[in-house]
Symmetry: D2
Subunit: 341 residues, 4 copies
């Protein structure tokens, strides 16, 4: 089978991660072109083996024979770029980082993309990488096999190791948009049901500066799913002991727990206590393999027509849950989520 000709827009933290993986996947992919504004990033892309580099993504699309593209630009450019690509005369498959649109309270732009995707005959995948993480995937598959009977309650804890900068929050969204959307998507994925209602309590317990951007650092949510089951999510921007993400699904015939991943197998005992190394310092190391797997999965969907692991509907529903969470925080009331398209 011929190699997939791929391009990438955006070479920031996540973009560079993807760029490395497609450059290293020479058996399946031809790393055709990369686009970024920064000269240093473009130089790295060339070193990684990208044949051409651009500062203008429209020019790249015109000049290069790209079959599939990764949109890893800042979140506020996602919808504009996806819209342009989807309307381009060339047929180009898209892998777009999450979320599709920061502005979860007004989904005009997201629905525009939704409609374009529905009209276009292309593969469109969203980068909710956790769905492809082998730990969650293993739990998901056991649930699908009926190992825990009917799922009844899902519990998700997600904690970042440190508060991200105000500047970054402005570009990628606040806690509910940038961070909790992962958990909303994971909750739907594990429970096999849409979120019907969100009730959120949150506040600023860690970093007072977050109030400047109307954001919070600590969050507790209760979810009700359409099938009558329940979910609990808690988030924090700062776990001093490291990155901490755990998922537990409780069902009529058993329970599946995905414990926080700790790559250390070393135990140390002294006169005071028994010690283990802390969890991983940050999500990049935690999900290293998942980033590769989601890209492999995208390439397979393009080549073989298998359904995408995470669709445009999935991201829009996660964004709607985030919007409901924001409204719940504002109003102090539980908020219904519309899951219709």
């Amino acid at each position: 089978m011929s190699k997939l000709k791929m391009g990438i827009i955006g070479l920031g933290r996540m973009g560079m991660e993807h760029a490395k993986h497609i450059a290293a996947n020479a058996g399946q992919v031809e790393a055709l072109a990369a686009c970024a504004l920064d000269d240093g990033q473009l130089a790295v892309a060339k070193e990684l083996g990208f044949k051409a580099v651009y500062k203008d993504y429209k020019e790249m699309l015109d000049k290069e024979d790209i079959e599939a593209i990764i949109v890893a630009s800042p979140t506020d450019l996602h919808t504009e770029m996806c819209a342009y690509i989807l309307q381009h005369p060339k047929k180009i498959h898209i892998f777009c980082e999450k979320p599709l649109d920061m502005n979860v309270n007004d989904e005009t732009e997201s629905m525009k993309i939704y409609n374009l995707v529905k009209q276009a005959d292309v593969v469109f995948q969203i980068g909710f990488n956790r769905r492809m993480d082998k730990q969650y995937r293993a739990a998901y598959e056991q649930i699908q096999e009926g190992k825990i009977g009917d799922p009844q309650v899902v519990k998700i804890t997600s904690r970042d190791p440190f508060v991200i900068s105000i500047d970054l929050i402005k570009r990628i969204g606040g806690l509910l948009v940038d961070f909790t959307t992962y958990d909303f998507d994971m909750a739907r994925y594990m429970m096999g049901s849409n979120i019907k209602e969100v009730y959120a309590k949150g506040g600023v317990l860690i970093e007072p500066k977050l109030k400047e951007v109307d954001d919070i650092d600590t969050l507790a949510l209760v979810l009700e799913f359409e099938n009558g089951t329940f979910g609990l999510i808690d988030n924090s921007r700062q776990a001093v002991y490291g990155y901490d993400v755990r998922v537990e699904v409780f069902g009529s015939e058993g329970m599946l727990k995905v414990e926080n991943v700790n790559k250390s197998a070393v135990e140390y005992y002294n006169k005071d206590n028994a010690q283990l190394k802390n969890p991983l310092p940050i999500f990049m190391e935690r999900y290293e393999e998942a980033y590769i797997s989601e890209m492999d999965s995208f390439i397979q969907s393009v080549k073989s027509g298998t359904p995408v692991v995470c669709s445009i509907e999935d991201v829009i529903l996660a964004q709607r849950a985030a919007a409901a969470g924001l409204e719940s925080l504002r109003t102090g009331k539980p908020v219904r989520v519309n899951n219709e398209f």
Copy 2:
């Protein structure tokens, strides 16, 4: 120091447990008298070493020189009996099983006891045994020492191994009253703050018969505490793998987890997987030591005047949280808790 002359009312499951412990504590206690309606239970009490047995607790109080009494009768008799004892001419210290009153929606009876306790010069302790469980106690003490900085989020999971009978529910109360009150109390205890608001979602996912008594078997709650921190509780009446109670407190400087207690240290590996024994089958085995510790603590409070581990205020506040939870289930709205007396 002279031995404490103790009596007990009620020799059911919990009553008999307490009866055994005070009978075995011959160094500190004189097991003076026991009261129950059942002849078989009274025979066991005699065998355990109780000097006298009665079917009428009022007669027992008149005839025996009891200094401290355990009220372990069915929940619906707690307030009536406590009121009688508190108004008895003899000064009698009381250890009363939880909850004080099943009828959490109308606290007339509970407040009557509250007022009697405030007027009387006696020790009055409530049997929230988990406060004296050495696991939770160890976590609690580390929080007090500042080991996790400021607590920000508490998470409690409590799951029973099987649905109790409709008959038993009628006598001891539904999920929120009989079961979640433990968690409300634990949440307050760990966070060092009163519960300000409760939002509850719940339903019948396991045993349809529970609808007959307007009860539920699955529950998810979000709490807000008066100091601005948050809590999540999830409950189930049936974990097929055994009794499962876990508490996690997350703070600015660290996290304390009390994992579910599993008394097995045996690991078995075969070609299929690695296996551990399931958790304990039921709460009696889990809290065996805590039942002894809470009684020791009560005896110490009587003898030395140390503050009780769990006061009348504590149980009333847990009952108010349960009432708020019930109202939240009914109305679909978050409900404020009044913590004033």
Copy 3:
């Protein structure tokens, strides 16, 4: 069934432990008489409920109608006392603490007891309590059920939390006699085969004073069993992190591990690491339940004729393995063990 009339000789650390348990077992046992040299110990025995106390065990045997006796005197008195009891006109069942005789290099005294036991129609049980510990017992039973196929290798680690005093060593024996005999017995028990050969390496790495009594504090052994399988044992007199005993049995179809028992379920995470409490500080707490179980088992053997959990043969074979270990240390060669009687 009538209560078993029991007596006890020796009220030191282990003796007092047994005395408490039989005194607390009023349903099955009549705590008839206790013998010790120390007035304080005898006073405690009286408080525990023993009807009579003696300083001379022969007098106790003559005066009291004892049916079963616990021999918990210093090790160097075990054989003399057992011989006397076994030759007493009264038929008296014996539970004797381990080892039977400290002098493992000359088994004249042990074999004298062996012959007396064989002639007498009494129950004779040795206090290798670990056989009745529920953790090892659970592993043992799974091996018996064939869960790991044919056992091939047993690994035992036993470490004490601190070096015991030279005086105590003089009375109870050195590392191989007092401590490793437990492991020899456990190894035979788990593997279902006698020890054929012992090779031992050891030295003084911790406490130089041990050289005064020709003892060691650190020991590593390889065993070969009669059925062609193998064992490894390592011992230390001082694990600074607490008492550490682990057993692992590897077989053709799987592995069973009994991890060190840690009664704490609390995990603490801070910016430095994740911490658990250390293991238990000393064996008394670790085996609390096993001491009760072995006594229950002895009483059952007396009452119902069930085979004893640990026989005179078992202790003599453990002593022979210890003798082989001592010879191996002296000669630097592997030493055969005679398992014939």
Copy 4:
């Protein structure tokens, strides 16, 4: 800094692993040439990006400007090839897979290489990859920092998931040579002392065919180190539950355990028990990162002159311990190891 021009001899299981890593390390290495007898393997090497491929390693050395070479040919060719390379007019650094020579009973060939290495001004590293595994490395570093005080006992368990073929054994050596050498090296590494004496017990408990090649499948060893400390090793060719390697170092101030690595964080509870996934199926997955790290370390030694992680002395001392083990099995006696050069 200029790229290191590297070649490789042998593209079997380990050779191909190394070939991939150096091909993927384009920033540091120029993958100049690969040599193998098999056309298919050479085709893969070309695809990986090796500029030239050869069937004759001597021709490759003559024609290509190789600065550093990986010797991953069958074990019985290691010494011949290393000797040729070390005597080649070009100065070529060598990374040679372990062991240096299967024939541990006669070290003529190994010592010939030793002498050539001592005369040559080249880097010579042996592929004991475990030294660079991040788990063992973390333990090693903590020992170096004094975290456990003076090491007193090392325990190593190494079990393969299935018996390798008789053919493979003929080419790579029996249990003690191919497998236990890793443990001898790890034991020396952790304890910081040479092995003074080996006592070995072993047999055929799993695969009777091994007797044809005078090999065994089950092994238990006791080691004494030159500094007076002790070690225990147990090996099996077939753990039905997967690859199992654990290292424990016990010292005067604490203990470090490297538990078996299990990359699954998923726990499953049902009515029967709690289940975890088995350990990894085979060593390749376990040590994936260690293979990269040892190669990075070799490249760094070549470029910067840092000492190699595993030297010619290290491998010869591990081979001498294996020879001692074989003699101990033959004679039934403990055998001294000569650690002089």
